[in-house]
Point group: C2
Chain length 337, copies 2
DNA sequence: CTGTTAGCGCGTTCAA
DNA sequence: TTGAACGCGCTAACAG
C-alpha cells in the first residue's frame, strides 16, 4: 500500500503523450523544432500529470544550475536584512535561486564554505564577513565566481562592491574639528570585521593626525540596544557628558546612546553629540532624530547580485569588477555640524 | 588551453587512490566496511584534490536532498526577519540547507510555488502568506511536507505553527472597555493576510459585541513608518485626539503614530492611547515606550523548522501537528491599562 | 521533425 | 573487503 504520490518524471510525460522523452525535453526548453500538434500533446500531458522538471537532474545533465549562494554572518541586524533584500530581489529578477549560508564564527565559516561548494551553486555573494582569504580561495580555485560586499581585504581577484562611508565621515569629522570639538569617542563592536567598519576609524584618525588637541577614544561594546542603553544610563549618572562626540557603527547604538541621555534629562546635541552610521529607519524614529551616514544598503545587495549575474553570463570588463557606492551624511538633530 | 579548474569528481579521487569509486563512496558516507589502510588512501586523495561531493548528484542518486524551502513574502520587515532567523538557526543545526523563495503578490506566488517544487526540496516552511489553499495543495499532492506559520486558513492537512496574539489582545481590550474607553481604531495594512493579523479584529469585536457604547473603526493605511508619520502629523492638526485607542498591527505603525502626536505636543497615553503588536525592539526605543503584544517571533520560526525536521525524520504524532505559542501583553507607557 | 543513446556524479545492489 | 554495473531524471548530440 504505497500511498505516497511522488512527482511525475519526464518519462511518464513522454509515455502519456506517446512521444519520446527527447521531444518532451524540447518542448520544455523551447529548443529545437517540434511540431505544434505534438507539442500540444506534450503540454497537455504535462498539465495533466502536474509535471515540473527536476532542477537537480537538469543541473547534473547540464553542469549548471540556477543556484546562487549567499553567505552571511547571522542575519539578525536590520541593515544586513536590507542588503539581503536587495540581493534577493535581483536574484529573483534574473531567475536565480538563492541559497542562504549563515555562520556564527570563524570555525563555523569553514563548514559553511564547504557546504556552499557541495551545493553546486553557480556563484556566490559574500557579505563582509569573518571569512578568511583562504576560504574565498577555495571558491576561486574551482573557478566559482565570487562577489564580496564591503570587505577590501578579501578582494584578491574577486569582484567587490562596497560603500564609501569613510569620505562623508571624514568630512563630517573635519567640520566637527573646525567647530571646536574636544573629544571623539568611537563606539564599536568587539568583532571588528563585522559591520563594514573598515575605514571608519581610518577616516577619523586621518583628520585627527593634524590636530593633537582633540582627544580620541575607542570604546568596544556589545552591539545591541538594551545593553548599551543600560550601560550608558549608569555611565552618565557618574560621568557628566562634556560636549564630546560619539560615533556609532550602527544606528541602534546611536539610538541607545541618545535615549540613555535623554531619559536622564541630558540634551543632545548640547551635552553630547551622536553620529550614527548606516542610516536605517532608526535614525528617523529617534527623538531627537539621529544624524547619520546613510549607506545605500539595499543597493549594495542589489549591485552585488547584479554584478554576479553579469559575471555568470558575459565577461565583465576588468574595471567594472569594483563598484563603490557613495554614502551620504544626513544632518539631523544629534550633531551640531 | 582550458584554464578553468573545475572541481574534482569521485572518479578522480578513485583514480588518485587507486581504488574504485564505490570504495570512495563508502568512506565518504561511512557505510559498509572498508579497510582502514585503503580508507586512509582515499582520505588523502580527497584532501589532495580538495574533493567535495556534489549534493546534486547525490540527491539524484538517493532521491533525497538536504534542501528545505522557505517561502516568504518580502523580507523587508523586521519581524519577518526575526522569524527567518529562527528558521535559519534550526535549519543549520539539523544540517539542512535553506532555499529562500520570496514573492511580491498573488500571481508571483504561483511562480514561487513551481520554483520550489522544481528545486527538489525535502520540505517547506511557509510564512503566513498570500498563497492560496490550491497552492499549498500542489505541495501536498506530491507528498511534500509543509509547515505553515501563522495562517489557519491554509491548515487543511498541514502542520501549523501560530502565535496566539488574540487572547492577550482580547484581555487588553476588555480592560480598556472596563476602564471606560470610548473609541477604538484598528490600524492595518490593506493587504489583510500579511501580518498574521487573522484574529486581531475578531478579538476586538468579540469584546465589543457586548458593548455598543464603544465606537469601533478600521483604518487601512500603507504600513510603512514615514507615510504613517506624515499622515498623522497632518491628521492630528485638524482632528484633535479624544482619548481613543489605536491598535496597530506592527510596532512600526505604533511608533509612527506616537511620534506624530508627540511632535505636535500631544500626550500619549493621555490624549490618545497606542497599542502595538509584535513587540520588536521598536517598542522599547520609542518615547514613550510602546505597550505591545509581544509575539515570540524567533521561536515561531524555530518551532516551525523543528517541526518540519521531525516530519522529515520520524512521523509526528497527529496532535503535535499544531503548535500555538502564547503571546504576552507588555504594558509600557502608551496605554492606560 | 522525432527517437536513440550516451553521459552528468553519485549511491547501491550484487558478485567476486 | 572490494569492484562492476545499473539507475536517479534530464540534456545533448547524433541518427533517422
Amino acid at each position: 500500500m504505497e500511498n505516497k504520490k511522488s512527482r511525475a518524471t519526464i518519462y511518464e510525460v513522454a509515455k502519456e503523450a506517446n512521444v519520446s522523452l527527447a521531444t518532451v525535453s524540447r518542448v520544455i526548453n523551447g529548443k529545437g523544432n517540434v511540431n505544434e500538434e505534438t507539442a500540444k500533446l506534450v503540454r497537455d500531458a504535462i498539465t495533466k500529470l502536474g509535471y515540473i522538471p527536476s532542477d537537480q537532474a537538469r543541473g547534473l545533465a547540464t553542469s549548471m544550475s540556477a543556484n546562487i549562494g549567499i553567505v552571511l554572518p547571522s542575519t539578525n541586524y536590520v541593515y544586513i536584512n536590507k542588503i539581503l533584500a536587495g540581493m534577493l530581489d535581483v536574484c529573483k529578477i534574473y531567475g536565480y535561486r538563492p541559497l542562504l549560508f549563515t555562520y556564527e564564527n570563524v570555525e563555523d565559516a569553514e563548514r559553511a564554505v564547504d557546504s556552499v561548494i557541495a551545493s553546486r551553486v553557480e556563484g556566490i555573494v559574500i557579505f563582509n564577513s569573518q571569512l578568511e582569504t583562504a576560504d574565498v580561495k577555495k571558491f576561486t580555485n574551482i573557478s566559482l565566481p565570487v562577489v564580496v560586499i564591503g570587505n577590501d581585504r578579501l578582494n584578491e581577484r574577486n569582484a567587490l562592491v562596497n560603500t564609501d562611508n569613510g569620505t562623508p565621515l571624514k568630512n563630517f569629522i573635519e567640520a566637527e574639528v573646525k567647530n571646536g570639538i574636544k573629544k571623539i569617542i568611537f563606539l564599536r563592536d568587539p568583532n571588528k570585521d563585522w559591520h563594514m567598519t573598515n575605514g571608519y576609524e581610518d577616516a577619523i584618525l586621518e583628520v585627527l593626525k593634524d590636530n593633537k588637541q582633540v582627544v580620541y577614544e575607542t570604546k568596544e561594546i556589545k552591539d545591541s540596544y538594551i545593553p548599551i542603553y543600560e550601560y550608558y544610563v549608569e555611565y552618565f549618572k557618574t560621568h557628566k557628558p562634556n560636549h564630546e562626540l560619539y560615533v556609532c557603527t550602527r544606528d541602534t547604538l546611536a539610538h541607545a546612546l541618545v535615549n540613555a541621555g535623554v531619559d536622564l534629562g541630558l540634551k543632545v546635541p548640547d551635552d553630547y553629540e551622536v553620529m550614527g552610521i548606516m542610516g536605517t529607519k532608526d535614525s528617523r524614529k529617534c527623538r531627537p532624530q539621529i544624524s547619520s551616514i546613510k549607506a545605500p544598503l539595499y543597493d549594495l545587495g542589489a549591485y552585488a547580485m547584479r554584478m554576479l549575474t553579469k559575471m555568470l553570463t558575459s565577461t565583465l570588463a576588468a574595471d567594472k569588477y569594483i563598484y563603490v557606492l557613495p554614502a551620504e551624511y544626513i544632518k539631523r538633530n544629534t550633531t551640531k555640524v
